[in-house]
Symmetry: D2
Subunit: 256 residues, 4 copies
Amino acid sequence: MKPEKPTTLISTFDEKGSTIRGKSLVDDLIGEITFTDMIYFYILGRMPTPAQTKVLDAVLVTLVDHGMLGALSARMVYNSSPDAIQGAVAAGMLGVGSQYGGVMEQVGRILEELIAAADPDAKAREIVAAYRSSKRALPGFGHNDFRPDDPRTPKLFQVAEAAGVPGKHIAALRTLARAVDAAVGKHITINATAGMAAVLGEIGVPWKIMRGFALISRAPGLVGHIHEEQQRPAAHYLGRLAQRSVEYAGEKPSSS
Amino acid sequence: MKPEKPTTLISTFDEKGSTIRGKSLVDDLIGEITFTDMIYFYILGRMPTPAQTKVLDAVLVTLVDHGMLGALSARMVYNSSPDAIQGAVAAGMLGVGSQYGGVMEQVGRILEELIAAADPDAKAREIVAAYRSSKRALPGFGHNDFRPDDPRTPKLFQVAEAAGVPGKHIAALRTLARAVDAAVGKHITINATAGMAAVLGEIGVPWKIMRGFALISRAPGLVGHIHEEQQRPAAHYLGRLAQRSVEYAGEKPSSS
Amino acid sequence: MKPEKPTTLISTFDEKGSTIRGKSLVDDLIGEITFTDMIYFYILGRMPTPAQTKVLDAVLVTLVDHGMLGALSARMVYNSSPDAIQGAVAAGMLGVGSQYGGVMEQVGRILEELIAAADPDAKAREIVAAYRSSKRALPGFGHNDFRPDDPRTPKLFQVAEAAGVPGKHIAALRTLARAVDAAVGKHITINATAGMAAVLGEIGVPWKIMRGFALISRAPGLVGHIHEEQQRPAAHYLGRLAQRSVEYAGEKPSSS
Amino acid sequence: MKPEKPTTLISTFDEKGSTIRGKSLVDDLIGEITFTDMIYFYILGRMPTPAQTKVLDAVLVTLVDHGMLGALSARMVYNSSPDAIQGAVAAGMLGVGSQYGGVMEQVGRILEELIAAADPDAKAREIVAAYRSSKRALPGFGHNDFRPDDPRTPKLFQVAEAAGVPGKHIAALRTLARAVDAAVGKHITINATAGMAAVLGEIGVPWKIMRGFALISRAPGLVGHIHEEQQRPAAHYLGRLAQRSVEYAGEKPSSS
């Protein structure tokens, strides 16, 4: 298997500076567009419309914070190696996995199926039934802390609708939610992960890279906790607390 | 050593939603501020002025791209585990270490020393002499690819000055650069890492957390390469190329 | 959802020292058992028999090296942050993902299905047919470099059989291989990943944690490359080579 | 700066199999040497003597366990992404940083200085005085939990001495300890990190790569905790506990 020589559409540079997707970094990008514009442009290869930037800002703001729970690994690693904060950020990033960022991907994929379906309501009932019959949780529904509604979801819809997005993904998520409520027999929370998958779909983000946007927004959240750890350390306390809280229930040493 | 019970100034939540540094996530932040504002606010605990946002946008845009070199680890890891892109982003983040993000910290620290000095020119000469006598490279000066000047640095200064920053850190960096050129006897490039440390200093970012801003801006750069790898794979080719390019120069097996 | 207070069966300590799964670290383990014994004991909670140790040594030795390709991320990260080699090892570890360590898990799972089957030959034909009809590669078969046979697989079987393992997993893999060859109409390589899954199964390692053993054996492989990078640097060269080898095929900047 | 084409002394392969440092993987290594031998051989390029293997086994056994504290990041990441345990192991590895594995490096370096000194006692007094005058903790001395002595240190010395190592590094550490006790005016614990640095020095491990051995031994410790998490989950509980235990002490939202 001889792989063909690959090329890139992303960037190149010469002694005068970098070209990124056809733009001069220095002349066209630095000082000319916002970081949010750059994120969209760099990943998707086209400049966002003002509506797309507005929605992307809202999504990225939503996910920055994940409390002490989301920052615990990063703080622990910082405490062991304060000279290498890239390790602390990396450890925190590794927690944005299948149970979290991965859920966005699954919701995004389902919404694309619904949009493509001839009868979205029937398709939604079918998807919900398939998850229930295999006893898997339907991705994007339910939340431990926010009931009956995750307040972030309607706010994201409101921002997206005010910005003037097409609305197909949001409509698909509402279709899915109706099918969920009907199947369960009561109202189930549409959590923010589902809401974000819908509005990212609205601005043209393919489901396959949605987890990447969760990772981008988590980065400053982790840096914020690391900066607090520099000033108000909690990791040492939390490590000791974990150690003390999980008691040893195994055998005693025979030699003592 | 019994650590006191720590507290956090960052966030809390109840069933109605999250509070982040005194703001309601849903009412005050999502859809109300940009991601760049949120980054500054979340990490530093105060809303940026429009000038600070402008400068932070410029810095974050500058560092997104680091070419195929900066994305190589992320692409290799993606290729081994395309179902877990958090691992690919984490591997890429781990490359923003002491030789790169760490240089910003060192420059930031030197600039704070110069600002605090009674005679900044004398202090700059002293610092340059100390590095040269211990044969260490002065952080922030010289660049493999961009000579005589790294075009990003003057652009960052221009953006910062147009936005109306105080100017002390930029002035300190210029003082340092004069001392460098005088000591070496020719003009040495002020690289973008130094430029970014100066303008981040201008907007109130402590040197101790500057590497964190490099990490934040690298996140979308890595996600962009992972998305390209999803569509136009290069990692398999590059892995084979690396394997082939570094020849084995050790012993042959005696048993064959 | 209120989680119950968890306990651990792994370890505890007091001012006299640590207890690990009922043994005193100092009196019973350090200097008393080998690292390989400790790996088995710590993870699985029982001391290995001499045969199990012999097989585990063979598996762990097999996977240490993965050439320059397997070490590329680690070397790149080391080059960016030589002061924090834990980052380089972590980046290398992240490459032992679904396409590699994950394959062992899948093979291990299939072998357990075959062992449990009333008619293993029929079950093997069924599994092979299912993979082929969904156009997925059957995990554990085929190899880019080693044909017709991966020489590691028969050696692992020979070590395991000489040590006197029960033989059920090896037999199951041979059953599977016969079904593969019959379906394809020619001999397909049983690769080392499959061979290792079989012999790990023989010594009682559940398929769910097999990837963990791949990670353990890769650790010294990465440390070996990092130590070589300390003495004979290759990462800078390889990064530049990657940069140069993937040409930019995007638009030229309109502003230049 | 044009880097020369690098070569490697580690490994190569052809269609018949791999050669590792002059040995055939299949004929000379798998089933022929232990994992511990392979670790030494792969990293240092020479087969260990039986004494060196004995000491390396003891060191690697010592560091496997680091309790719930050392496994906290790995468990948290496993909980977020149970399909990608390489991420959990990587996160745990990132905690073996400057405050831990890095201490071994520093002790190892000091021991080499003492061995090279004409008057080791005077050199030891000088080193201790330098640390004390700059108010830095001397690496390798003191322990939160084990006083007056860390029981692992004498056991490591006993294993090394029984195996018949040269003894220079152990003697140097004892010299350093005498200088520490004299300067402080009471007995200070020689912790296991110092003990391991000494005995690794005895078997020819350069201080620059000692942290790598800590990383290797931590790998199975993390895999053991991940396997326990698969069966007896604790991470969800510990994350919630951390969240609850660090109270928010910031402003209340003005909008509520």
